[in-house]
Symmetry: C2
Subunit: 208 residues, 2 copies
Amino acid sequence: MRVKIPEVTIGRLSLYLRCLNEMEAEGMTVVSSAELGKRSGINPAQIRKDLAYFGEFGTRGVGYYVSELKKNIKEVMGVNHPYEVALVGVGNLGNALLRYKGFQRHGFRITAAFDRDPTDKDVPEGCTLYHSDDLEKVIRERGIKIAIVSVHQSSVQEVIDRLAKANVKGVLNFVPTRVNVPEGMTVRDVDMGTELDILTFYLSLQEK
Amino acid sequence: MRVKIPEVTIGRLSLYLRCLNEMEAEGMTVVSSAELGKRSGINPAQIRKDLAYFGEFGTRGVGYYVSELKKNIKEVMGVNHPYEVALVGVGNLGNALLRYKGFQRHGFRITAAFDRDPTDKDVPEGCTLYHSDDLEKVIRERGIKIAIVSVHQSSVQEVIDRLAKANVKGVLNFVPTRVNVPEGMTVRDVDMGTELDILTFYLSLQEK
DNA sequence: AGTTGTGAACCGATTCACAGCG
DNA sequence: CGCTGTGAATCGGTTCACAACT
């Protein structure tokens, strides 16, 4: 890899892909950065720059071939093949995440779920529920590299450390606590409480 | 307001508050930006700058008084009083969000839930379930200003527009679609599929 | 002496503007 | 001619370094 790629770029690639899918469905075969910009709300120069990090996907004077570009973006993002994902903590939130359709659309399948108390819990077709004790064993065996964590605050750090030991490389963390991220692992936090705080702040600004 | 406040600052204020609560529980009464930095993982200069946007909360040579600072941050964030929140779309995800404890910790209570098909659905104590048809009416009557949207893709835009009409000012949107944001409204997107995409990208980088 | 508050330097990301190419 | 790809300019946020203050 030549230069460092901003992580926001990856988020935008995901957005471009969504737009391209729509456009393809509408029968478009070629698209300019200007058109894609209109659809996605991103500045065209930004789009060109984002894409240029990874190659020269366009044709000057023409634009980008939709199906071509889709393929290239998918390759770049590493989402060409479906991914297995583990979920740790089958509480309210975990349960909903197990059933969330959005992951499938991105090519992810939650195939293993772990809980400290697996009795009385049930999981959707295609997913197996295990006791947390078996976390390392199962994840290693299956070669799972990505996990979603929705456990109780008190056990997040332990879970993250155990996932790291099991060779998990990426974690989507829904638990609002500062965690120590093990070497070689990427953790992305989703903190919904803080999101509401930010909305509230803007709200309180308006009142002034 | 004198200068523009970066929105990441607000997210960090929320983090500082969490740390301060911990520290207070541990009996600390005074804290320096260096100590808070250690706990929160944020650069001390950054912390001072974040706080300085809103006032001079510290004492030179001493630091910040914990309870004092907590109070000030809460005031700044507009979270001094509890907020009522509406939730639109009681599917899997919506249901989990209704029961998510993290919101309460931040002083939010989901007191009204809306669904196109409210039969057979039940909601926790303290929350009332309404038919979507009554959205504008109920939200207006209650003066609710913040909403969480977890409806089907096809109706997001309509829901957002109706919320705007009902005078809602902030929306936390869990639906992965580009929405047109009405004037005077703030929308924050939580796109969990894209989050996994980003993890996958880092994963695929490591393999090279 | 110790720590805040802040101007200046730095760094990274976005946008502009145009050369290069189809 | 039109649109991409990209160096240069700009913008915004972070970090540094120190003057101000207790």
